[in-house]
C-alpha cells in the first residue's frame, strides 16, 4: 500500500525507499560461525525524499537512522527492499554506474576530526572527488574549482594549502561540506553533521547548510538526534524507532501536533531554554530502554514502552496511515485505527529465514 504517494501525488520524488531492510547477521561462536540471528537495523522502511526539500530524520541512538542514510547511498548493501534515486534502481547498479551515483549523492559525516585525512591538505581533500569523477580537467582548473568550493562554504581560498589540524571543528566541518559538494551532487546526506560542534558553531553550520540548500537547489537528508536542530532546518520530519519510520510529515505538524506516542515522548524530553516553561511542562518520561534490534517486539515495536498500549498492539504490525490535519502527515499507530499486518501473517513470511533467526531470543 503506497500511502505516501496517495497523500501528495504531485510532488517530485528524488530518492525513494520501499520495504528497505538492512539486517546484520549475528554469528554463532562455533567453527562454522553459522548465523544464529540478525540485528534488524533497518527493517522495512518506506520513505520518499522530495526534490529540493530538507528531510529531517530523527531517532534515538541505535534506531537505525545512520544505517538508513548509508543504505540510501548504498554505502551498506541492503538485504531487502528497493531504493531508487531519480528513477534509477540503486540496489542493482554495477560499479561504473555506482560511481556516477556517488557523484550525484554526497555525504557529510559526524566527526570532522575523523573524516578528514590528517596527512592531506584541504586542497587535496576537496579536489579528490574532482579527480575521481574527472570533473575539472587540468591542475589549474582543479585549483580554481577548489577555491570556488571553499568560498562557497565560507572559507578563505587561501587556506587551501593547510592541513586539517590547523582548523577548528567548525572549519573542518566546512571542509567536509566542500568535499561533499565537489561533484555538484543533487542529494546530500548529513549524518549527525553538527553533533560534535559547540552551540555557537552549530548555528553557523546550520545556517550554511540552509543557504547552500537554497542556493544550489540541493535535496538534503539531515540525520540527527537533536530535535531542535532538525525542527529548525527541515521541511519535513521522519521519526525512526527500532528500524522503522513511525511518523513522518511536514515539520510543523510533526513537531507541533505529534500523533504517535513515541514522537510525543521524544519531543517532551527535549529540554528548552526557558525556565518558566521547563517547570510547568508535562513530561512523558518513558520507562526502560530501547529493546535490542536483534529482538524486536511483535506487532508494534514501541509497545513495550508505550504509555497508551492496548489490545491490538502486540498482534498487528502497524502500517503508516494518514493522521492529524496536515496533508502528508502519517503515523504508524493503532490509536488512529488498526491498520497493518497481523503478526501471524508476518511469522509466515519469516519462515524462509534460517529457522533459529525467527525467534529474537536466540540472539542472546
Amino acid at each position: 500500500m503506497d500511502l505516501t504517494k496517495r497523500a501528495e501525488p504531485e510532488r517530485d520524488v528524488l530518492v525513494s525507499a520501499r520495504g528497505l531492510e538492512v539486517h546484520f547477521p549475528i554469528r554463532g561462536s562455533g567453527f562454522r560461525r553459522r548465523p544464529i540471528g540478525a540485528v534488524r537495523a533497518v527493517d522495512g522502511v518506506d520513505l520518499d525524499v522530495y526534490r529540493g526539500e530538507t528531510l529531517g530524520l530523527v531517532g534515538e541512538s541505535g534506531c537505525g537512522k545512520s544505517t538508513l542514510g548509508n543504505a540510501l547511498l548504498r554505502l551498506v548493501p541492503p538485504t531487502g527492499g528497493r531504493v531508487t534515486f531519480d528513477g534509477i534502481d540503486v540496489t542493482a547498479l554495477d560499479r561504473r554506474r555506482l560511481r556516477e551515483l556517488r557523484r550525484r549523492a554526497g555525504m557529510v559525516f559526524q566527526d570532522p576530526f575523523a573524516s578528514l585525512d590528517p596527512r592531506r591538505t584541504v586542497a587535496q581533500t576537496v579536489s579528490e572527488p574532482l579527480e575521481v569523477h574527472g570533473l575539472a580537467g587540468d591542475r589549474r582548473e582543479r585549483a580554481a574549482r577548489v577555491g570556488e568550493l571553499l568560498e562557497l562554504v565560507g572559507l578563505d581560498p587561501a587556506v587551501a594549502g593547510r592541513y586539517p589540524h590547523e582548523f577548528s571543528g567548525g572549519q573542518r566541518q566546512r571542509v567536509g561540506i566542500a568535499r561533499a559538494l565537489a561533484g555538484e551532487p543533487d542529494f546530500l546526506v548529513c549524518d549527525e553533521a553538527i553533533a560534535s560542534l559547540d552551540v555557537s558553531v552549530q548555528a553557523q553550520v546550520l545556517n550554511l547548510l540552509r543557504r547552500l540548500q537554497r542556493q544550489l537547489g540541493l535535496t538534503l537528508l539531515f540525520v540527527s538526534h537533536d530535535l531542535s536542530a532538525v525542527r529548525h532546518i527541515s521541511d519535513r520530519i521522519a521519526v525512526m524507532y527500532l528500524g522503522r519510520i513511525v511518523e513522518v510529515g511536514p515539520a510543523a505538524a510533526v513537531a507541533g501536533d505529534p500523533q504517535m506516542p513515541y514522537t510525543r515522548a521524544l519531543l517532551s524530553a527535549v529540554p528548552v531554554p526557558h525556565p518558566e516553561l521547563e517547570r510547568s511542562r508535562q513530561r512523558v518520561v518513558l520507562g526502560g530502554d530501547v529493546p535490542s534490534p536483534a529482538a524486536v517486539p511483535s506487532g508494534c515495536r514501541f509497545r513495550t514502552r508505550c504509555p497508551d498500549v492496548f489490545e491490538p498492539c502486540p498482534d498487528v504490525d502497524p502500517a503508516l496511515q494518514p493522521v492529524g490535519s496536515a496533508p502528508g502527515h502519517l503515523a504508524a499507530c493503532h490509536l488512529h485505527g488498526v491498520v497493518g499486518t497481523p503478526v501471524a501473517a508476518e511469522a509466515d513470511g519469516a519462515a524462509d529465514r534460517p529457522p533459529r533467526a525467527a525467534t529474537g531470543s536466540a540472539a542472546r
Binding site: S200, A203, S228, A255, V270, P273, P275, E278, V285, L286
Partner: protein, 342 residues
C-alpha cells in the same frame, strides 16, 4: 541561607603546555548551598571541567598550578593533605563524569565497583557492602538490582551505566555532587530519566549539585543558579530566570540566539536564520587583553573593551533584583540599550 556546602573563591588554574602557560581558569568565585543546583555553562575550552577537576585535586600536580580557596563545608580542599582529601572525596563530594562507557572498569562486576566505594569510606564487611550496593542500585532505579549487581558494564545500556555511576557517586551520601556533562552522551529520553533521578535524590538528601553542561535547555530545567563561563572567567551569573530570560552579557545573548528553539518554532512560516557568534573562542595560552569576549563581540562599542577587563557588576543593582534576592551579575562594558544597569 544556611552555611554553603561549597564556597569557591578566586579559583585560578594555570597549565604548563608546550605552547606556553595556559590560563584555563581565571578567578572563579561561586557558592553552592544545601539542596541547591548551580549550573556551570560554557563551550568547550571555557574551563568549566578543569575548574571542578582542580577542586578535587584531580589535575596532574606537575603541570597544573591551582590557587584560590575552595571550602567544602568550611574546609579548604586546595590546601588539604592528600590523605585528608581521600577521606573527603567519598562522603564529601561525589563526581559523575561524562562518558558512561569509559568511567567504569570493564573487567569488574558493577557490584564490586560499588562495594569498593562503600568499603573505602566505611568498615562494613563484604556481605554488608554487597547489600548496600543492591540498595543503591534500587535507589537509582536500576531494574532487577539483585541480579544486576553481578553484571559487567558491557551488559548494561548507556543509561543504566550512568545510573550505576551515579549510584557510586552517591554511595557515601555526599554533601556535594558534581556532574560533568553527565547526560551529554545520552539520548534525550534517557537524559530526562537521569535528570528526574538526580532531582529526586537531591530532594531526599539535600545534596548540593554542581551541574556542568553546554546544554542551556538542561540548565533551564534543573538549575537554581547559572554561571556562564567564557575564556576561563565567569562572564555572567544569577538565577536561572535572570540569566536565560534576561541575559545581560553579549556572549550569553549570542549563545541563546544560536540555539534552535523547539518552543518558539511551531508556526508554518519561513524560519529565520539562527543568530551566530562569529569566530572561535580564544586559546587559553593567548587570552586577549581587556574583555575576554571582545574579539568576537558583535556590539563592542566602549573604548575600554580592548584594554580593561570589565568587573563582574550587579545588573540593575541589588535593590532591583527580584525573587529570592540572589544577585544577577555580568562582566561587560557593553551596557547600551539595557536600562537595568545603574
Amino acid at each position: 541561607m544556611s552555611e554553603p556546602v561549597l564556597e569557591v573563591e578566586d579559583l585560578r588554574v594555570d597549565l604548563r603546555t608546550p605552547r606556553g602557560t595556559a590560563h584555563v581558569v581565571n578567578g572563579l568565585s561561586y557558592t553552592v548551598g544545601r539542596g541547591e543546583t548551580v549550573a556551570v555553562v560554557g563551550e568547550s575550552g571555557s574551563g568549566k571541567s578543569v575548574s571542578v577537576l582542580a577542586l578535587l585535586g584531580l589535575l596532574p600536580s606537575r603541570t597544573a598550578t591551582v590557587t584560590g580557596r575552595a571550602a567544602l563545608q568550611g574546609e579548604d580542599l586546595l590546601t588539604m593533605s592528600k590523605n585528608r582529601l581521600r577521606e573527603v572525596r567519598g562522603p564529601g563530594v561525589g563526581m559523575v563524569f561524562q562518558d558512561p562507557m569509559t568511567s567504569l572498569n570493564p573487567v569488574l562486576t558493577i557490584g564490586r565497583q560499588l562495594a569498593e566505594a562503600v568499603r573505602a569510606h566505611g568498615e562494613s564487611s563484604k556481605a554488608a557492602a554487597r547489600e548496600r550496593a543492591v540498595d543503591l542500585l534500587r535507589e537509582v532505579g536500576l531494574p532487577d538490582p539483585d541480579r544486576a549487581v553481578d553484571r559487567y558494564p558491557h551488559q548494561l545500556s548507556g543509561g543504566m551505566r550512568q545510573r550505576v555511576i551515579i549510584a557510586i557517586a552517591l554511595a557515601n551520601s555526599p554533601a556535594l555532587l558534581i556532574a560533568d556533562e553527565a547526560t551529554t552522551a545520552l539520548d534525550v529520553t534517557v537524559q530526562a530519566q537521569i535528570i528526574e533521578l538526580v532531582d529526586r535524590l537531591q530532594e531526599d538528601h539535600g545534596t548540593g549539585v554542581v551541574w556542568i553542561t553546554h546544554d542551556l535547555g538542561v540548565v533551564a530545567g534543573i538549575a537554581d543558579r547559572v554561571l556562564v563561563m567564557y575564556g576561563g572567567r565567569c562572564v555572567e551569573d544569577g538565577t536561572v530566570d535572570d540569566v536565560l530570560e534576561r541575559p545581560a552579557h553579549p556572549y550569553t545573548r549570542g549563545l541563546l540566539g544560536a540555539l534552535p528553539d523547539l518552543a518558539e518554532e511551531t508556526g508554518d512560516g519561513e524560519v529565520p536564520d539562527l543568530a551566530t557568534v562569529p569566530g572561535v573562542p580564544p586559546p587559553p595560552t593567548d587570552l586577549p587583553e581587556g574583555c575576554v569576549f571582545w574579539p568576537r563581540c558583535p556590539v563592542r562599542s566602549d573604548p575600554r573593551c580592548e584594554t580593561e577587563q570589565p568587573p563582574l557588576d550587579l545588573v540593575g543593582g541589588p535593590l532591583l533584583t527580584k525573587g529570592d534576592g540572589l544577585p544577577h551579575r555580568a562582566a561587560t562594558w557593553c551596557r547600551e540599550g539595557d536600562d537595568r544597569w545603574t
